[in-house]
């Protein structure tokens, strides 16, 4: 069993690597210029080029993939020459990067062509003083300095380069030949649990992703808890009453529900319960972060829609399995020796009949998580599905990657649980 789990984990990690690399390069090739999406079509080519540099998008794709995977602080540290550390900012709850010099945490900022040093105080604020740094000689008599700026980038500042850039001053802007030239956005990389910043939201992916994951897990989990017992119950009832009117009603009803796609069921449920009768909220309007707990009624229609689609499939699967088991010789033997029917079904038939559906059910957890995309779209439900969809449309690699990695983990975990449940139900099966 232990070996089986280890092997599963190794294959999971490999899957994640392959999926992440493939996704990264597909997004690289497939999506257009993301700076146009952020700055709008009225922005000038110079503005876009500048913004690309600030986002670190001018680095080659393989380098950005490695940054995403393992972090960029390695190469930034080499440039800056100081250890770079992260500190949690209490007020924004986001990680900040600082350079550690002589036991102090420092960053830099440039104003009017002068570099200033920001020294972090114990309370999280910073004190500004003229920077005391060693400028290095660059080309054409210009000098440069690598440091950390206030926006979590390693930045190369240039002095005396003679190019024209705008430099911010207290009362506006002044033309200067000096300013930031190169940026390395600082990140720890996924291997150290930093999914990076989303281009679409400008915030760390983890800040926006977790509420979505929570919402989807609640929706899918609730649907699962309702569908599976109900479907198994109906399937068993139909199976032991094979050929009777109960069986017909359950089978045909299940088939009809499965055959109706969720966007049809969903729209009808919205119209009937949300718009005409107004008994349940029509769509999932989250007016507060925890709306899902404050107004659980929001979940009624999405769960009903998922239930309708899932119910028939699992019920029919259970029914078929039950019918087969009920015709087995050992069931007939039990009946002939006079065992009560209820006891036959509960003690002998059910356990064997559930073997087939249990695999289907566990595979359907994945389907539920992925398949809620449509349901989330219909109901405007802020979940993982709509997150991936909008991130992919926007061309936001960090967000897509993080969500995809989660889906891989969920897929692997449900498979493991499914296999374990299978083993418990059928002691003859051993994995090694």
């Amino acid at each position: 069993m232990a070996r089986f789990i280890v092997r599963s984990l190794i294959s999971a990690v490999l899957t994640m690597l392959i999926v992440s690399a493939a996704l990264f390069f597909f997004l690289e090739v497939g999506s257009g210029d993301v700076t146009v999406k952020i700055l709008g079509i009225e922005s000038t080519p110079e503005q876009r080029a500048s913004y690309r540099t600030q986002l670190g998008l001018n680095a080659p794709a393989w380098q950005r993939y490695l940054d995403w995977l393992a972090g960029s602080d390695w190469r930034a540290e080499r440039a800056v020459g100081l250890p770079l550390v992260t500190v949690r900012n209490e007020s924004t709850d986001e990680a900040e990067w600082w350079a550690e010099r002589d036991g102090e945490l420092v960053r830099w900022t440039m104003r009017d062509g002068e570099l200033y040093q920001l020294t972090r105080q114990a309370d999280g604020s910073s004190v500004e003083s003229p920077a005391d740094v060693a400028w290095q000689e660059g080309e054409n008599g210009a000098s440069y300095f690598w440091g950390v700026d206030a926006d979590n980038n390693a930045v190369m500042w240039m002095r005396g380069a003679g190019e024209t850039v705008w430099v911010r001053t207290k009362a506006g802007f002044r033309k200067e030949g000096d300013g930031p030239r190169e940026y390395i956005p600082l990140r720890k990389g996924l291997l150290r649990f930093d999914a990076g910043k989303s281009l679409q939201t400008g915030r760390p992916v983890s800040v926006t992703l977790w509420p979505r994951v929570r919402n989807t897990l609640i929706l899918a989990g609730l649907a699962f808890l309702i569908v599976m017992p109900l479907a198994v119950f109906l399937g068993v009832i139909a199976g032991i009453n094979e050929g009777t009117w109960i069986d017909r009603v359950i089978s045909i009803g299940g088939l009809a529900l499965t055959a109706t796609p969720e966007f049809v069921t969903g729209i009808f449920l919205i119209l009937i319960f949300g718009v005409w009768w107004r008994v349940f909220p029509a769509v999932a309007i989250f007016t507060s972060p925890n709306a899902i707990f404050e107004k659980p009624m929001l979940l009624v229609l999405p769960v009903m829609t998922l239930t309708a689609v899932e119910l028939g499939y699992v019920a029919r699967m259970t029914r078929a399995s039950m019918v087969e088991v009920m015709e087995a010789p050992y069931i007939r033997t039990a009946a002939i020796k006079g065992m009560p029917r209820r006891r036959i079904v509960m003690r002998h038939a059910l356990r064997n009949a559930l073997l087939a559906p249990i695999t289907i059910i566990m595979l359907h957890v994945n389907w539920l998580i992925g398949g809620v995309v449509v349901v989330e779209a219909i109901f405007g439900y802020p979940g993982l599905g709509s997150y991936i969809y909008s991130a992919a449309i926007f061309g936001d690699p960090n967000a897509v990657e993080a969500a995809a990695m989660l889906l891989v983990i969920i897929a692997v975990a449900t498979r493991l649980i499914g296999d374990a449940a299978y083993m418990l139900l059928n002691p003859r099966i051993r994995y090694s």
Binding site: T44, I285, G380
Partner: protein, 561 residues
């Protein structure tokens, strides 16, 4: 459904309205500032002796003795929450905004120097007044005094100059940089005193007040560091409590806002604003089921779906948004004006408006100037004339030695009812001898080639002044950028240059009239109608205005519940 009265596109009856008591003195004063930018005498006409700056802190309040036409005090109610459905994305630097939804968030807590109203007239907001020199190259902006940011700091010229510096900094990436091309660089912004800023333009520009209300142009605090969510400091009526991308934004009322309501206390009336991020389909369902109070920018299909709901009020407003039927004048057969004119004659405008936009708009002439533009000169709407078009086409065909029907391909996108327009035109143009093949793609597919197709339907957004569009799309300089038809005309350019430095609206109307004639006679576009947009809000909300660019102006909205 109750339809609120539509704002009439004709905007210049204000003085008459004032005399007849339809417009109060404050309104007229603001209007007078608009016209009187170079004619300060207008103040005297308004019969206002007091220095405008002195009444600035209460400028938003009606001066009680004015007209008596104001609603009785005490009629308004305070309190309540307003919920809207609108997509929310990246929001950090307001100057960098490239989407109106984000501006609708920012405008609740930050304000603009000017404000273009639903009637398309631009008035001072944070400014007390502006003055332009006769050559329209020097603009003096006078700030209202006594306006405070929500952190207690006074609004001064430093904040304005800082903000302008952000617009003009290429590293910020603001679309204001392109819009204020006449300003050039921040060196041309001069601080005269704490409440007086002078813009020394490099080229004449009459659109400065309108540009100052372009949606990224909110005024920021001078210490702003680049992320408005982390530093929610502004002069506006609401304070940002929560912003979660793709989820929601929540605002609460500010206690010491500078404008007063009808009851004499500071605005706003509402306690709380909540924006919930959903797509438009979910927004419609949420409006129908009563979960939200309004939605951002309903599409025509949403308008159809929501029409007739008993507890919703639909407020339409005229815009300068249109679907332009544009022809590449450097390519056959559109290089021949007879063919262009023939196709223009094939527009049965009323029918097209009905088929493509449910009759919700204003009929247009074949020029890119809208009745809602202040200097628009009224022209008769051309009639549908397939016989006349056929005669022109036959003449062209005989000359070229080709057979009718003339086969052409019309490209457009499946976005805002363009396919309906294209289909209608195809059928209307058939008797005239056009055989139109439709080439309809997804919006992204069309935007990749919108300047390249030889015949296309392009959607154009609203711009408050006609010269702004003409300069963008119908000059020689704009070929390669926004000039999708490659059309330019020396007479037209000459008139346009004059119009761009003519501040007087009546004088400008003379020029517009000639430009409209030129575009109708030999221009590159057909234009059947100007779109309406709608504000659809639950009926208990009062003072709601429908804005041509779908802005939510919430300071004096109140809830009658």
């Amino acid at each position: 459904m109750s339809k609120a009265s539509r704002i009439h596109p004709a905007v210049l009856n204000a003085a008459g309205d004032h005399r007849e008591g339809k417009m109060n003195r404050r309104e007229f004063l603001r209007f007078a500032t608009l016209l009187g930018a170079s004619v300060p005498v207008a103040y005297a006409l308004a019969g206002c002796g007091a220095a405008p700056a002195a009444e600035a802190p209460a400028a938003g309040a009606p001066a009680g003795s004015d007209t008596g036409a104001e609603a009785a005090s005490g009629a308004v109610k305070r309190g309540g929450t307003w919920t809207a459905s609108m997509q929310l994305q990246l929001l950090d630097h307001p100057a960098r905004l490239s989407w109106v939804e984000g501006a609708n968030i920012v405008r609740q807590m930050n304000e603009y120097l000017t404000e273009t109203g639903p009637d398309n007239i631009t008035r001072p907001l944070l400014l007390d007044r502006w003055e332009a020199s006769d050559d329209v190259k020097t603009w003096d902006l006078y700030l209202k005094q006594g306006i405070k940011f929500n952190n207690g700091d006074d609004l001064t010229a430093d904040d304005v100059i800082f903000t302008m510096g952000e617009w003009l900094n290429p590293d910020v990436g603001s679309s204001m940089l392109g819009l204020l091309g006449s300003l050039g660089s921040i060196d041309n912004v001069e601080k005269v005193d704490d409440y007086h800023i002078r813009l020394n333009l490099e080229t004449p520009d009459i659109a400065i007040p309108e540009s100052l209300f372009h949606y990224p142009a909110v005024i920021l605090h001078r210490d702003f560091e680049g992320d408005i969510v982390k530093q929610p400091i502004g002069t506006g009526p609401f304070m940002l409590e929560e912003y979660a991308e793709g989820e929601r934004a929540r605002f609460t009322r500010r206690e010491d806002y500078w404008q007063n309501g009808e009851d004499g206390d500071p605005l706003p009336y509402l306690d709380e604003l909540i924006f919930v991020s959903t797509d438009k389909d979910a927004g419609v369902a949420a409006l129908q089921s009563g979960q939200v109070d309004t939605m951002y920018d309903p599409r025509p299909s949403d308008f159809q779906a929501l029409q007739g709901m008993p507890d919703l009020t639909i407020r339409p407003v005229s815009t300068a948004q249109c679907l332009v039927l544009r022809m590449r004048v450097d390519l056959e057969p559109w290089d021949d004006n007879r063919v262009r004119t023939a196709l223009k004659m094939c527009q049965d405008r009323a029918k097209i408006l009905q088929l493509a936009y449910f009759g919700e708009g204003d009929l247009s002439i074949d020029a890119h100037f809208a009745p809602i533009h202040p200097a628009y000169a009224e022209k008769p709407i051309p009639a549908y004339d397939p016989d006349g078009a056929r005669a022109l086409l036959e003449e062209y065909a005989a000359e070229k030695g080709i057979e009718l029907p003339l086969k052409v391909t019309l490209a457009t996108k499946n976005d805002q009812n363009e396919p309906e327009l294209a289909q209608a035109l195809k059928e209307l143009a058939e008797p005239a001898g056009f055989d139109i093949t439709l080439d309809i793609t997804e919006p992204g597919g069309y935007w990749d080639r919108w300047t390249e197709v030889d015949l296309g339907i392009t959607s154009w957004t609203h711009r408050p002044l006609g010269v702004m569009i003409a300069a963008l799309a119908y000059t020689k300089e704009s070929i390669g950028a926004w000039n999708e038809t490659r059309w330019y005309d020396d007479d037209f350019t000459e008139l346009l240059n004059q119009a761009q430095s003519t501040l007087d609206v009546d004088a400008r109307r003379e020029l517009y009239s000639q430009m409209e004639d030129i575009m109708q006679e030999r221009g590159p576009i057909g234009n059947s109608f100007w779109k309406n947009v709608w504000n659809i809000t639950r009926s208990e909300f009062q003072n709601v205005v429908a804005h041509p660019t779908a802005y939510f102006l919430m300071a004096d909205v109140w809830k009658d519940a």
